[in-house]
Every structure is written in C-alpha cells, then in structure tokens.
C-alpha cells in the first residue's frame, strides 16, 4: 500500500516541506514558484482581470477529468470569458487526512497538464491537511490573473437586440458524467466531462472580431441560468431555437431518465457568446476551427421583446419560457 497523507503533513514542519517537495512542486515547477517566497513577485502591464473559485467536486476523479484539471480550467475560463489572456494562477489545497499520496500526485499531474495546455503557470500556493471528515478527500481553490487586450470589452450587460447567441458545443456533458458516477445512482452513459481550457479558442474569437459583446461559461445552473443572467443584466430578451442547441444523444436520454432539462445541466468546457449579427459568422468560423468549438452553433438571438426573459421556439413551433434553475440538481458537481 502506498503512502497516505496524515495530519502531520499539514503541520508546517518538516513533513509539510516533504509533502510539498514530493507531491506538489515537481509537477508545477517554474522560476516564480520555485523561489518559495511568501508571495510571487511579477512585473505587470495593462488591464488586469482577477478571479477566484473553489472546487469541491465529488468524486475527485471522473471520466474526462479530475478535480485538478477542473480547478485549472474553471479559473482559466472565468478569465477567458471577460476577454482576458490568462497568465498566472494560485493553487490552494485542503486535503482530508487519509488521501493517498498517489492520488494527490495524479491530481497534480492533471494540474500540470491543464496548465501547460492553457499556457498558464502556478506561481503561488498553499497546502493544509484537515481531520477526517473536515473535508471530503480534497478541496482546491485557484485564483487567476490575466491581461485584457486593448479594445476588448466583453460583459454580461453589453448584449444588444439583434445580436446572435453562439454556443461552443454540446451541453450537459459534465453534469451528466458526474451524476452517473455518484454513489447510489451509478449508471453507464457513453459521455465524459467536457472540462477544458477555452482561452485559446477565445483568443481566436477575439482575433476574428474584438467586438464580441458578452461571453460566459455556463457551469452550474447550465445554459438556461447563464442566458437568464445576461438577459437581466442587459435588460433584453433572448430567444433560442430548440433544434439548433447541440445536445448529445446520451445526455438527452439520461436527462429524460432523470427528469432534467439539459439546459439546466452543468458544463465545464463550454462558452456562450453574444455577438453583433454582422460578425457572427466570422466568430463562429473561428470557434469551429478550435477543437473545443467544433460543434459550435448559432442557437438564438437577442430581441427587444420580453426584456429579462429567455424563451425558446420548440421543435413543434410553439414558444416556451426558459427559466433559471431553481433549487439544486446535483450536489457538488464542481
């Protein structure tokens, strides 16, 4: 049996140094981090985007990713959707005693791979170990900073009537994957989490047109909640067309089985962009060229009718309200 992390690993003493040296730093080593000073010191120019998020997903390993990949991608994506180029991350771990060192290393390997893919570096961090029951295996908090290029101004309050709504790919993959892994509800579904860093696709979109009005990554609460937020922030209506919204067959079937609406199910590697009609096809083409945007589609438009609300034209040609998620579908999905 491999080594297990115990409370003493969080004591701040020699065992802590050992854990950090063996299980953490080798995976994310870089000049700024390796100094191991109390703060990373960085030269910076330009408009800064700064964000933070905590990750408590259960289980910590799931098809298509793990909590490490999620913690990097989630923060990278939060920076990306305001138009920023993500640069530096912090990484704080809260470990429940009893986690195996091998599992920690597996998570850290994912952190390394996701950071390399996104082109970001982890420059500072923290590690704590808590009593059994004080956390659930592993919680991670990442913060991130990025630089916003000149001329970019993407915000949820910038949607304008006439704009097109573009979605980067299929919805619900992450939420259904996690649901299928939960104790007491395990089911086989041929779908994996979409967890991915979207910054390179966003850079290509902004190159196609810096006039993108708004971007969001529809995580918890799903696409429906994200679009309702934008409709309210911008005081506009949004109308979707049901048949244009990409949903995998397996996700749709699982949603039928569980009584969910795919529009309410979480994603971790998708974004929705609100763009002026004149540049929509250019932005869409740029998205489709990227691996993470190959299924991108225009799914609706921004209208003056019913400000603050989202509606959908169904396959039968009828109209229905698309409301925010109320209550909780899936506990601890990210």
């Amino acid at each position: 049996m491999g080594e297990t992390i115990v409370l003493a690993h969080g004591s701040g003493g020699k065992m802590s140094r050992d854990l950090i040296a063996k299980g953490i730093v080798p995976f994310i080593s870089n000049d700024l981090l390796d100094k191991l000073d109390d703060s990373a010191v960085i030269d910076f120019k330009g408009r800064l985007a700064f964000t933070t998020d905590s990750y408590v997903v259960s289980p910590i390993f799931f098809p298509g990713g793990d909590i490490g990949r999620l913690a990097v991608c989630g923060t990278v994506n939060d920076l990306s959707v305001v138009g920023a180029a993500p640069r530096y991350l912090s990484l704080a771990l809260i470990i429940e005693e009893g986690l195996s060192l091998d599992d920690l290393k597996k998570v850290m390997k994912s952190v390394k791979e996701a950071a390399e893919e996104a082109g970001v570096v982890v420059v500072t961090g923290d590690t704590k170990v808590v009593n059994r029951g004080g956390a659930d295996k592993l919680f991670i908090t990442t913060s991130g900073v990025g630089v916003i290029p000149e001329g970019v101004n993407a915000s949820g309050s910038n949607a304008r009537p006439g704009d097109k709504v573009i979605l980067s790919g299929t919805i619900g993959d992450h939420g259904i994957t996690i649901m299928s892994q939960r104790e007491g509800l395990k089911f086989d579904v041929p779908v994996v989490s979409d967890c991915a860093p979207l910054n390179k696709m966003v850079a290509a979109m902004l190159k196609a047109s810096p006039r993108i009005h708004a971007m969001r990554d529809p995580t918890r609460g799903g696409l429906a909640t994200t679009l309702n937020e934008i409709a309210r922030q911008s005081n506009v209506g949004i109308r979707l067309t049901e048949e244009t919204v990409p949903v995998r067959e397996a996700v749709r079937a699982a949603c039928e089985l569980l009584g969910f609406d795919p529009l309410h199910v979480a994603n971790e590697g998708k974004l929705v962009a609100i763009v002026p009609a004149g540049v929509a096809s250019r932005v869409l083409a740029a998205m489709k060229k990227n691996h993470y945007g190959k299924d991108a589609a225009i799914i609706g438009e921004v209208i003056t009718d019913h400000p603050g609300k989202v509606t959908m034209t169904t396959r039968l040609g009828t109209t229905r309200i698309v409301d925010m998620l109320t209550g909780e579908l899936l506990p601890r999905i990210c």
Binding site: T318, R320, I321
Partner: protein, 360 residues
C-alpha cells in the same frame, strides 16, 4: 434506435396538429391525470397548438402534491423521534407542512436523508444498527413494487431496524372519486403512462363504460401527447369512448404481472387522504398484517395536531382540475419554487411548478 428523436419529429407533429384541428368540432375538455404529462405539455408549449374549444386540464397525478398535510406532519414528527432516521425522495424535502417542512426539520436537528431508491434506506439501516430507519414511501403504482421488494429483502436479510411510512396511493379509485364529484365536466382523459406500465390499460375501462369519457394511455414525448389528443378527439367526435393505448412500447393491456404480484403480496388497500380530494376508500396502500413489523404506523406511532391548509392556496382546486395555477392569487408572487406555499409549486411534476417554469 435513438431514444427520443422519433417522438420529437417536427413534420409528424405538424401533421398531427393539422389533423386534430381539422377533425375537431365539439368542445373537448381533456384532463391529463399525470404530472409528468403536465410537464411535457408545458415544456413543449402543446396547448398553443389547439383551437380554443380543446382544453387541457391538469389532474391530481403528482404523488408529492396529493400528500395530505396531516401525513406530511406525521412524517416530520417521525423525524423528530430520537434515534430515528427518516429517508425520503428529494422532492418531499421542501413541501411545507403545518409548521415545518422536512428540510426545516432537518436544519433543526432531525436526521432526515435524501435517497434515490428505497433500497438505499436498507443500506442505511444495515450500516446504522442502533437507529430506526423509516423510509417515507410516496408514490403511485409505479413506485410501489420497488418498495414491496425492499420490504421483502429486509425480511429475507433480517434487517429489523427498517420500516416504511406508507403514503403510497393507487390511481383508479381517485379518478373514480374525481368523476363522481362531478365538479369538472370531462370529455376525455389522458391516463397515466408509467402507472399503466405496471397495472395495464384494463383498469381504466370503467371510465368509458360508466362515465362515457374517452380515454388514452400514452407516453411522455411531444408526439405521444399529440397522438393521444388526436385519438381522444376522434373518439369524442364519433361519440364512441373507449380506452386506446398509444404507448404500446411501454404498456400491455394486462400490465406487468410480476410487479403486480409483488404489490399484492406485501400491500393491501386502505383509506387514504388526498390533498384537495379528502379521504378516498381503497385508494391507499399499507403493509399487510404479515409485514406489519415493517409498518411505521405500527412500529413508531406518532400523533399530530389536525392540519389546516395554507390560506389562499388553491392547490386543492388545482389538483381537482377546477382551477388552473394562473387562477391562484399567490402564484408567482408569494408562491414560487424558491418559496413554495403549496405542494404543487414544489414537486417537479406539480402543475404550478410546470406553469411557472415553462409557461409564465
């Protein structure tokens, strides 16, 4: 074969709608008994497709919604008995009781846990031998065989700290009670699909025979519902009511005999309280005497004060099809899914929740 696309075909849907509009001349008040149908109708905007003389009314087919206040108060009281763990499906947690909901009782220290299946409760009982685990069984004929199988498993594996608070109900007697009340004049009834998968389509035959009301047994996809309305309208126009099953992929005339056998082995009919409808003879199920050691009413009897319905809430009228959610003054204002006053706004299959979610 794909799972659902065949039943969402736009072209077929349009053709059915055209046909319904062409053949329908007589007024047709149709009730969908089941909450699952209400959700499908609202989610697909199906009411918008028919002329005004075809009306779709929602019925009492949501097990959470029809749970009487008094029964819910008893369940909450069970959760407050020291050493007891109450397990329940998630939908029940937010339903307001006279004073508390299960969710609020849990916040106050009661051990109430959400399970996805009755068997999970057995697992909790196995792992907590010092505690009494009470599964709050809410559901219709669809849920009952699973509860029956769990009781049999508890007996076989000698798990003594497990019992069931049965709020289980059966559908045919309540439909009869609703029709006998005569408050709403119905021309057609969309019978519950999943319930029929268990009991079959034969138990509905009394409806056309005795009440001259057209009936269909149908599934939950948009085309299922359109086809069902098409069949009902044709029966109404011809004046030839009968039970037609359009859900042949799920329902046989005789139903699922194995599931029926399980139900009959473990449960017997009893008087049951329905919110909005009062007590209906033989519409509930309780464990037979042979299984009374798994009956929470026998094992841990609790008494609660008589319950009063919340003021202004029209859940009762809505469950009987007399009013629609939009008739209720509380709808969308004081009563929302976040802050529900009545159960129809809580359950994912409740009429008010479906109207709120898809139809405001």
């Amino acid at each position: 074969m794909k799972f659902v696309d065949e039943y969402r075909n736009t072209e077929l849907g349009r053709k059915l709608v055209q046909r319904i509009n062409r053949i329908s001349a007589k007024p047709a008040s149709l009730m969908e008994f089941c909450g699952g149908h209400t959700v499908a109708i609202m989610r697909n905007g199906i009411r918008q497709l028919f002329p005004p003389h075809i009306k779709l009314l929602s019925g009492p087919g949501c097990p959470v919604c029809v749970t009487a206040h008094h029964d819910l108060d008893q369940a909450i009281a069970l959760g407050q008995v020291p050493g007891t763990i109450v397990t329940t499906f998630g939908d029940m947690m937010k339903v307001p009781g006279s004073e508390l909901s299960l969710q609020q009782a849990r916040a106050g220290g009661a051990d109430i846990r959400i399970v996805y299946s009755p068997r999970d409760s057995l697992e909790i009982a196995r792992n907590g031998p010092g505690k009494q685990v009470v599964f709050l069984a809410v559901g219709f004929e669809t849920t009952t065989p699973g509860v029956a199988a769990t009781i049999l498993e508890a007996e076989k594996t000698k798990i003594e700290n497990f019992c069931v608070k049965s709020l289980l109900k059966v559908c045919p007697p309540v439909i009869k009670a609703l029709l006998d009340l005569g408050e709403v004049k119905l021309d057609g009834l969309i019978c519950p699909g999943h319930v029929s998968a268990v009991i079959g389509s034969r138990p509905w035959e009394f409806i056309p025979e005795k009440y001259r009301i057209a009936c269909t047994v149908t599934g939950f996809e948009p085309l299922d519902i359109l086809l069902s309305v098409d069949r009902l309208v044709e029966q109404i126009e011809k004046g030839e009511p009968k039970v037609e099953t359009t859900y042949t992929r799920g329902v046989k005339p005789e139903g699922n005999l194995q599931a029926q056998k399980l139900m009959e082995q473990v449960f017997e009919p009893c008087l049951a309280q329905w919110r909005g409808l009062g007590t209906v003879p033989a519409s509930g199920l309780k464990p037979r005497t042979r299984y009374s050691c798994f009956d929470a009413d026998v094992r841990i009897p609790v008494t609660v004060k008589p319950a009063a319905e919340p003021k202004g809430c029209l859940c009762g009228e809505i469950l009987r099809g007399v009013k629609t959610p939009s008739d209720c003054k509380l709808f969308g204002g004081r009563c929302t899914p976040e802050n529900p006053v009545g159960p129809c706004m809580v359950s994912s299959e409740g009429a008010c929740a479906a109207y709120y979610q898809y139809g405001r």
